[in-house]
């Protein structure tokens, strides 16, 4: 597809809000997530202008923003110290459940965290998750299995189901 102003605007109003939220869940930093998704979007735009074909803007930007957020984590860690004064009095509203889920997510290895967020928040099927993460579908299933087991323990649930689902998209 061609990435132009129309495609960018459409992406911003349809995919962008939830993708930022998803990346923020993975990398634990909303600014880094915004930055990563915007950067990925710009790169897609620039590549398209240079003639590169991007089959699915959504998949491409999701993959690249997750990768960018990895390196962005370093910046976030460094910034966190420098900005402690700025952010210490800005604490978003939280709920007990949210802290539980976020804490549980944070304890997962990064790849498991990515798989969980793509599967359960962005509601991708395992095939799509595999495509975005660049791994085999079987790897996604085993990753999700381990992630759910860990989350069940952390959240006091029993992991009873779902390994071969097809998801909703």
């Amino acid at each position: 597809m061609r990435v132009d102003e129309i495609a960018i605007r459409q992406f911003l109003h349809t995919r962008y809000p939830r993708l930022v939220a998803a990346v923020a869940l993975v990398c634990e930093s909303r600014p880094a997530a915004e930055d990563a998704v915007q950067e990925a979007l710009l790169r897609a735009w620039e590549r398209s202008e240079k003639g590169e074909v991007i089959e699915s803007l959504n998949a491409w930007v999701t993959t690249v923003s997750l990768n960018l957020a990895k390196s962005g984590l370093r910046r976030v860690m460094a910034e966190r110290r420098a900005r402690s004064r700025l952010v210490r009095d800005f604490v978003p509203e939280t709920s007990g459940d949210r802290i539980d889920v976020e804490r549980a997510l944070a304890r997962l290895p990064r790849r498991q965290r990515e798989a969980v967020v793509l599967r359960y928040y962005l509601q991708m099927d395992t095939r799509k998750v595999a495509e975005v993460l660049g791994v085999h579908e079987g790897t996604v299933k085993s990753t999700l299995f381990r992630a759910r087991s860990a989350l069940a323990g952390a959240l006091g649930e029993t992991d009873t189901e779902e390994a071969n689902d097809s998801g909703t998209r």
């Binding site: 930022v20 710009l42 390196s71 910046r75 460094a78 009873t160």
Partner: protein, 595 residues
């Protein structure tokens, strides 16, 4: 299934979708910033203004003090190039030079959107002082900068203020200009070595412009008017005044005519000027007492901005549509310079023994090849370099390089690997001293060479993080007794803890941020301290809460002074200023990534 449902439900509740309002426009701006950042990264932009202000002071001081006798009135002085400014559509005003017959036309200033205006060539013929503007300056602001006569990057002599018509003193140690550095508009004198600026008393109480030095360097002539700038019948005269403000004299004193743009010949002790009347105007000359008037040009062109040939035999001036024009001092030999469209000519003096053709530029350090050992005993890849003056005693042609250390398997690493920064002060392509290896956090490169502490030696900024915001580490050359060292600057204990902040810890190597993204704007800049010394200021801020129409900008400014490789925290304060709105002059290097 219960777990899956709970994960879906709670992740959906935990996640905070972003508001895309206005983001497309933000992306456009961000894209433009990225393009600028890339330019900086590749060294193009950094190379434009890397000479560093005080570095230029010292280099120039050395340059001119080597000449014990002022070359001013030497009978053997001859005429070199005519330097002038030319407007280039889309690129501002650039600096050009050509021989007196128009031969050898060349551009002296680097390509790019900038303004180089009102050139004047130093008495030894080597250095041009100009009024210089870059796009990020607020309208009306400029710096005084120097450009080598053979062309090249400008070195800033000042911070941005209002400058007009700079002109070298006969001994090359001072530059007079019309302007304002926060005070009333007047005639000021900049001491090149110290950077000290002093007003010429009495000149800031009237409208003034176009200063020009007397041959002995004790007086300055200038155009002035005691009338109102809004009066269409305002009359201008040529005045002279001693540098200490005494002996203010109206040399022309013609209430019904205006005389402007004086140029004092150091060879003839005569002053050329433009008489501006109801007709096209004329180019006249007079002696330093204001008498013995002669007409050098009275033709149809509207002459402007005359300048003497250094040997006093001719004049060049701006001849309207004809561009730069020359005429003999007696009014004969009128000639236009071919292809010399432009204005504000300056004429290069050539003291005895120097050549009409400028010397070739100093040898620049060659960019090391990938895998080449450049004197470290190890091989580097992804090598980037930046020009600067890291040890001013070694003169021009210095560079700093940053490269990744190639491990034993011979591959060029990616990701977190060791990086070395090193400096080549002799310009032979072999580095002379290096930093300890440090870990690159991604996208490391030689970024810029500003003079952070104002000691005449540039510091090195190494890009450490490449994101929408650029993270840079600061290195300084410490001139030890045995061997200079390039050290990563640290923060003196206790850092900023006494101010209640934790951004710059004592003993740590600080990382500074430049640029901005959706919510963040960061900048670094330098200012002259009230008690002397140059201050280094890091501003980092963000708007919060994110995604809210009620978002406000909060920023923190941390002020340091750099001494011996250690940054001392002087102050930390909160501000609501968005750093992107600041003029981020970057301590002599252009680090403004916002515009």
């Amino acid at each position: 299934m219960a777990l899956d449902e709970r994960l879906r439900r709670e992740l959906d509740r935990a996640a905070q979708p972003a508001d895309p309002s206005g983001l497309y426009e933000h992306l456009i701006r961000r894209r433009e910033r990225r393009q600028i950042a890339r330019k900086v990264q590749s060294g193009l932009l950094a190379a434009v203004v890397l000479a560093g202000s005080v570095g230029a002071f010292y280099a120039l001081t050395r340059l001119f003090r080597e000449t014990e006798e002022p070359p001013v009135a030497a009978p053997t002085i001859s005429n070199g190039l005519i330097v002038f400014s030319r407007e280039i559509p889309g690129e501002g005003e650039q600096l050009f030079a050509a021989g007196p017959n128009g031969s050898g036309l060349r551009q002296l200033s680097p390509d790019g959107r900038a303004v180089y205006r009102s050139p004047d060539v130093s008495p030894d013929g080597r250095t041009i002082v100009v009024v210089h503007e870059i796009p990020s300056f607020e309208p009306g602001l400029s710096v005084l900068a120097v450009v080598p006569i053979e062309g090249g990057s400008p070195g800033w002599l000042t911070e941005p203020h209002i400058f007009r018509d700079p002109t070298w003193s006969p001994d090359g140690t001072q530059i007079a200009f019309a302007g304002s550095i926060g005070d009333p508009f007047g005639i000021y004198v900049l001491d090149v070595a110290s950077g000290d600026v002093q007003p010429v008393p009495g000149t800031y109480e009237i409208s003034v412009g176009h200063p020009t030095w007397s041959p002995d360097g004790t007086s300055i002539a200038f155009e002035a008017s005691t009338g109102s700038d809004t009066d269409p019948a305002q009359s201008w005269d040529i005045y002279s005044v001693a540098v200490d403000g005494s002996d203010m004299t109206n040399l022309t004193n013609t209430p019904d005519a205006s005389e402007i743009q004086p140029a004092w010949s150091w060879t003839l002790d005569r002053i050329a000027f433009i008489e501006s009347g109801p007709a096209e105007g004329a180019l006249l000359t007079m002696n330093s007492a204001g008498t013995d008037l002669t007409t050098a040009y009275g033709g149809e062109l509207s002459p402007a901005n005359p300048v003497w040939a250094p040997d006093g035999t001719a004049l060049a001036f701006e001849g309207g549509s004809e561009g730069i024009v020359t005429v003999q001092a007696d009014g004969t030999g009128f000639a236009t310079l071919p292809d010399a469209r432009g204005g504000e000519p300056a004429w290069q003096p050539l003291p005895q023994g120097t050549s009409v053709n400028p010397p070739p530029p100093p040898t620049q350090s060659p960019s090391p090849l990938v895998g080449e050992d450049i004197g470290l005993g190890l091989r580097l890849c992804d090598v980037t370099s930046v020009q600067g003056t890291f040890l001013s005693a070694y003169g021009d042609g210095q560079s700093a390089v940053v490269g990744m250390v190639i491990p034993s398997d011979g591959s060029c690493p990616r990701g977190d690997f060791e990086v070395v920064a090193a400096v080549d002060v002799t310009g032979d392509g072999v580095v002379d001293f290096a930093s300890d290896p440090f870990t690159c956090q991604g996208g490391c490169s030689a970024f810029a060479a500003p003079d952070v502490d104002g000691d005449g030696n540039d510091e090195l900024l190494v890009q450490n993080v490449q994101f929408s915001i650029i993270g840079v580490k600061l290195f300084e050359v410490v001139p030890n007794e045995d061997e200079p060292a390039l050290v990563a600057v640290t923060v003196a204990p206790p850092g900023d803890a006494p101010f209640g902040y934790q951004g710059f810890g004592g003993g740590e190597e600080p990382q500074f941020w430049i640029g901005g993204d959706a919510f963040i704007a960061d900048a670094i800049r330098c200012e002259q301290g009230e008690g002397g010394g140059r201050l280094f200021i890091s501003t980092t801020g963000e708007s919060r809460p994110h995604d809210s129409p009620d978002a406000r900008f909060f920023a923190t400014e941390t002020t340091f002074i750099l001494e011996g490789g250690v940054l001392h925290v002087l102050d930390v304060r909160e501000t609501i200023d968005d750093p992107s709105s600041l003029v981020t002059t970057g301590c002599g290097a252009d680090l403004d990534l916002f515009n």
